[in-house]
């Protein structure tokens, strides 16, 4: 079968570039003076200023990872770590400057807010430009605001949790994040409050040769529940951009949190993000992740099941095309009795893209009667792409049920033939199989986002199979 020539796809709305206009852009590089200047610009309290400087010391001591994709092209001397857009934080879209508002309009954020979200936060470069939440949630005591406001208004709560779940010593890019972080969202759901409609934060990086380092801190108190969605995108530039965000989730006893991500960074982005959740007694955190963008991604969300009966599920898909190296996966540590984890990871590689599933399941000595099931499937759409599976399973108690399975393969000729015999063209048959492959992930998303994900899959598949 002759293959269709594969063209660079049109990423239409995601690639719209605004003029690189800003209120303030810090000079490129990473020095003590630059960190102090970020602190000045952000009017940090003293504890945060000191925290940033200590994180910089840790960053300078830690080595780059000796595994995974080659990130040697990242030169921090060429990256501006703080870019303040030409607007303040707004609570009405009408107050947001036109060019920024139009970007979010095209991404469908204000429309989604009206129809299917309980609250929205929108970050443009290093600062949050819009934040709003429905009145009834405010009345119930739910807090959803930008991190800068949270540090000032809820300082004790933030101080108690900020970078305690993800300490700056975890790895080099977490230390970098600790030093230069800016923007992001803070959510607190009080005891027993169920937030039925999702909250969403959207992160847009417009400025070239810069980085985005937003910090998301979510505390779901005892018996409460929340669905939080994050979306991210950026237009493509010729030089690398860096994303080193950090997500810390505290899911207290009997609470529930679903954290969904549709990541569609531009293909010059190094996405070195860190996400971790601490899960209490009989609580549950579910991760749903669709990873489409970035030049290089190293992202391994982690659940630490500290409470008895704590649960976690990870459902993720990565889609790597030309020039992309997506090294994604999941980590879970079972630290108590009767905990359980379910992992369902999928990846699709095409046009010379590389997908790696990298994971760790650790069941500690005190996690008797725990269960873990891991399943990963990889689909190769051509013979120039790469797909690797690198899972580590560390089992330290006998009272456990653990199983892992993985498959790598291509589209089944028999299935394509069958679908074609029912009247589909070969391309439609193949696209249908790929959408079916991704279905277990898209069905976990709210319908609007499932549609967005399917559109992204269609966009990625355009001209890629044949």
């Amino acid at each position: 079968m002759a293959k269709t020539k594969i063209e660079e796809i049109n990423r239409n709305i995601y690639d719209i570039k605004n003029k690189d206009e800003y209120d303030y852009k810090i000079k490129k590089g990473l020095t003590k003076e630059i960190i102090e200047e970020i602190s000045n610009q952000k009017n940090d309290p003293d504890w945060m200023r000191n925290f940033r400087l200590k994180a910089l010391e840790v960053y300078n001591k830690l080595e780059l990872p000796t595994w995974g994709p080659d990130i040697s092209e990242l030169n921090m001397d060429e990256i501006a770590t703080y870019v303040r857009p030409k607007t303040k934080l707004n609570s009405s879209w009408d107050e947001v400057p036109d060019d920024i508002k139009q970007t979010f309009d095209k991404l469908g954020i204000p429309e989604a807010e009206k129809t299917s979200l309980a609250g929205v936060g929108a970050q443009y470069d290093s600062e949050v430009v819009y934040h709003s939440m429905k009145q009834e949630l405010i009345k119930q005591g739910v807090i959803y605001t930008d991190m800068e406001t949270a540090i000032k208004q809820y300082s004790d709560l933030v101080k108690e949790h900020f970078m305690k779940c993800v300490p700056v010593t975890d790895h080099k890019f977490v230390a970098l994040h600790g030093a230069v972080w800016s923007g992001g969202s803070f959510v607190y759901v009080p005891k027993g409050v169920k937030v039925d409609i999702p909250l969403q934060s959207y992160f847009r990086l417009n400025s070239p040769e810069s980085g985005q380092f937003e910090h998301t801190l979510i505390i779901v108190d005892e018996g409460a529940s929340l669905h939080f969605i994050e979306g991210c995108s950026a237009p493509k530039y010729n030089k690398v951009n860096l994303h080193a965000g950090c997500v810390e989730l505290y899911v207290k006893d009997n609470a529930y949190l679903r954290y969904s991500t549709i990541e569609n960074w531009s293909k010059n982005m190094l996405n070195l993000n860190t996400k971790k959740a601490i899960v209490g007694k009989n609580a549950q955190v579910d991760w749903v992740t669709g990873s489409f963008g970035s030049k290089i991604s190293m992202l391994y969300p982690m659940s630490i099941l500290n409470g008895e009966g704590a649960k976690t599920e990870y459902t993720g898909i990565s889609f790597a095309g030309k020039g992309q190296n997506l090294d994604n996966g999941f980590k879970v540590v079972h630290n108590n009795k009767n905990t359980s984890s379910v992992v369902n990871a999928k990846s699709i590689s095409k046009n010379g893209g590389k997908c790696t599933y990298r994971s760790q399941v650790k069941i500690n000595e005190n996690a008797q009667n725990s269960k873990s099931t891991v399943s990963c499937e990889s689909l190769m759409l051509d013979d120039i792409s790469i797909s690797d599976t690198i899972p580590v399973n560390d089992i330290r108690t006998d009272e456990v049920e653990f199983s892992h399975e993985a498959k790598i393969g291509k589209l089944s000729d028999k299935t394509i033939f069958y679908l074609m015999s029912r009247g589909l063209t070969e391309e439609d048959a193949k696209a249908m199989i790929v959408r079916g492959f991704a279905y277990p992930i898209s069905k976990e998303l709210p319908v609007e986002y499932a549609v967005e994900m399917n559109n992204l899959i269609n966009l990625e598949l355009e001209g890629a199979i044949g």
């Binding site: 990872p65 000796t66 595994w67 995974g68 990298r358 760790q360 000595e365 008797q368 990889s378 190769m380 759409l381 051509d382 013979d383 792409s385 790469i386 797909s387 690797d388 599976t389 690198i390 899972p391 580590v392 399973n393 560390d394 089992i395 330290r396 108690t397 006998d398 009272e399 456990v400 049920e401 653990f402 199983s403 892992h404 399975e405 993985a406 498959k407 790598i408 393969g409 291509k410």
Partner: protein, 352 residues
Amino acid sequence: MESLKLNETPVRTSRNFNINNIKLENIEIPKNVPEFSNIEIIGKKINIDNTKTETKLKYGLSEKLTNQVNANSNQNMQIKIESKTNQETQINFNFDNQNNTLIENLKITAEENSKATLIIKYEEKEAKKSYHNGIINILALKESNLNIILINLLNTNSNNFLTIQNTIEENAKINYTIIDFGGKNSITNYYADLKGQNSENTINTIYLGKENQLFDINYIANLKGEKSKINIEVQGALKDNSKKHFKGTIDFKKGCKKAEGNENESCILLSDTAKSISLPMLLCSEEEVEGNHSCSSGKLEQKQLFYIMSRGFTPKQAMKLMVRARFNKIIENIKNEEIKNTIINEIDKRLD
């Protein structure tokens, strides 16, 4: 006494996962290598040349241990398999107080269209503590068919280091049955280069850990030939404070169209202080292939144990029966009844 860093995986993962290599402390590496002469060769006579040769390895346990074999081996065998019918030869390396250090370099060439079964047994009968560092390097030429049975019955004070390298040509086949029971530290590095079209490699391994034994098993298979095939089946049980690292890599190289790779690893944990770490890797640079891996860990099924005990067996007898049942599929590959009984008795003894 030395510190050793051994058995690197072909692709690294996070250092925090403690699986990229194994570090051993206080290992006594013999500087002066005494003779090792307690060797028995049973069965069909084969052509053995004892000339010393140098072996070049793609991976190996470490440069230091490879150099030790190349420079200081006390047993060298170049074996040529020429028979066209499957005949069995057994080589026993018997460790005792006079023969407690074996550094061997085995080179086996299976000529085109040849067939053979080779049993290599490392057994400790008297020695209190032994040292074994060996390389087995096999070249299977076109259409050859080899059955290799490796049996490690060293005691739990010894150090067992073994490197196995295979080159498999067109339509050639190597079947391995590996019984890995002995050694305080038993570290195995296995590499198969499936370069020929339709080349095939099967590895069936059982390991059994007790006391403070440590097993570090690193299997790497590169599939290069079209329709090449690898099957890895590893079954193990760990009691007391024993620990196992299993690292299995199936690497589908570009051009190995219609290749197949399957890997299954299963570990029974017989105590709450035993530890099992596994890293079953699938690396794939070719589209038209099929790769599967699975692994599982857990204790024996309690309902089945209870059922067996209800038929009059003690808990220990029931446990032994169930472990043996798990291993049986692999033991049944061994046609030599005497060897089979030796292994069954050894399982019984080590599970006591």
